[in-house]
Point group: C2
Chain length 348, copies 2
Amino acid sequence: MADYFGWDIGGVHLKAARLSAASGRASLATRILGFEIWRDPAALTSRLRSLRDARSGPHAVTMTAELSDVFPTRAEGVRTILGACAEVLPGPPRVLNLRGRLVTLDEALERPLEAAAANWMASAKLVALARREALLIDIGSTTTDIVPVRDGEPRPAGRTDTERLMAGELVYTGVLRTPPASLADTVPLAGGWCRVCPEHFTVMGDVYRVLGAITEEEYTVPTPDGRGRSRNESMARLARLVGADPATIGPTAVETMAHFLQERQVDQVARAIVQVRALWPGDPPSEAIVAGAGSFLADCAARRAGLTPIRLDALFPRLGGDDWSRAAPSAALAVLLAAETGDYRFTS
Amino acid sequence: MADYFGWDIGGVHLKAARLSAASGRASLATRILGFEIWRDPAALTSRLRSLRDARSGPHAVTMTAELSDVFPTRAEGVRTILGACAEVLPGPPRVLNLRGRLVTLDEALERPLEAAAANWMASAKLVALARREALLIDIGSTTTDIVPVRDGEPRPAGRTDTERLMAGELVYTGVLRTPPASLADTVPLAGGWCRVCPEHFTVMGDVYRVLGAITEEEYTVPTPDGRGRSRNESMARLARLVGADPATIGPTAVETMAHFLQERQVDQVARAIVQVRALWPGDPPSEAIVAGAGSFLADCAARRAGLTPIRLDALFPRLGGDDWSRAAPSAALAVLLAAETGDYRFTS
């Protein structure tokens, strides 16, 4: 029996995965902890400790939290985050870089920008274990990663966040934290169009609560007004997008806004998928590998872009455990560590 | 010598004006206090007290702060705000309603939604003292009001925020707090287009600091990252809009983004002006009366929409004092109270 640990240090969630492998069988256990790093960056160490497993084994880390403006520069963010990891995780932990290599902690500290925002690379490396040609679409609470895998390797057009935003490989949109005003200037209302208020009144989590696409438990980020996650409370927040209460415009109007905003988000992701596919040399794949808390949205966007969605975990029938594709980068790191030993193969 | 006091209780700023009138002369003194009501609504009373003048005279109040989501409904917000005003201001104060009438405090408490978000009506009534036909454009830190004055009266197509957003008479955009991601999905970068990150990394105040359109002192709202208001600090915040630092993309790229975002905001306001003018029966006016902390932007938008801008204070040559058009609704209430007595005329 051997254990392998993967970590994904995001700005809003910490994700930890443990792969436990025994003869011919392997199982993944993931944990996701809501943690807005900008509220208390010094608490990272204790939060990591609370997620740490009692069992021993190698650890690997990836991150996106360094983008938070609590860090004056991204390089300083990477160093701070790796410092916390080194303090809590034994080993010391390995670190994934933007080339897809698991480097030593010292190497990562020397070239921090090569370890910044690399978590998409972990999931893409995982996909590449199972498919020579594939398009990965991972939609989380805040962002969407669209990564081409060709010839059995991740082949992104961009590596840094900025390059990836330009290429369509990173779309800064997700199913919980995204402000609806970033998706539409106007929403349909009363047979016309109403301008929106770009305040922090509501987020896409409210849209998906109103539509019944997520449960209260799946709304894993703080609500903008600190109130609850019931459908009625989400309706009230969403109505403020047009400066109204549900009582004044009626629940049907709020539901119509929610449908429209979902449609805008599907469109936004589908356009990026088409942009990424447009660079494919030769025939692009007809399948999309979908993952993340927003895999339901990835599903819709993939279909709209003409691809057949397949869930990431369906590629790995030998990997049991929980719904680990929601925490894909951390799960991927655990699998990559295990695969590195050469003792394990997870694909048929 | 008589004094008249006007108050505008916004969600981000409190504005107070005192009109002091003596034989044939009058002067306005205004004060603006940054106060984000959602951070500490109970502090409203003490903040109002700190702005209160020792001199006596009638007071009138208008507000927009009830839209803040710290209040479960807008009606409850109006009642809370009026409660604080009644406690601090003698009289009791009169309250402006959406019909442009200064009603008693009791009347306002009975029909709170008629007093909600009425501050634009104060400024429009003021314009109507000087012009029978005019288009008022008041751009503040957060919002823009575009109000038609016809036959010597404000003649808006909408009264509530929602109606006004639909009519183009309210555009929820301003020169300080507006998130750039509400103005553009993509910005020009490196000869291409880069998707933006709709996080609370930067605001339009940074754009106008980078462009030199406002001073550090005119950046009267908190910065998103709590850092300073120097041009370099604004550059750093703006670069995060595309997930970058100024060091990685260079200062010229950040300046280009700022120019582009200003252009998008001018366009947004100009389109609303054209929408409002399109409803004018007969010939719309060729002048725009501009006011607010963003009057420089109102100027550009008015010209783009084919109108000649004139500053609000230029309509009232007999009214001396400070740069009161930055706090137009509160100044307007003070003038309206004085004009009501019949003893004063402020136009030639």
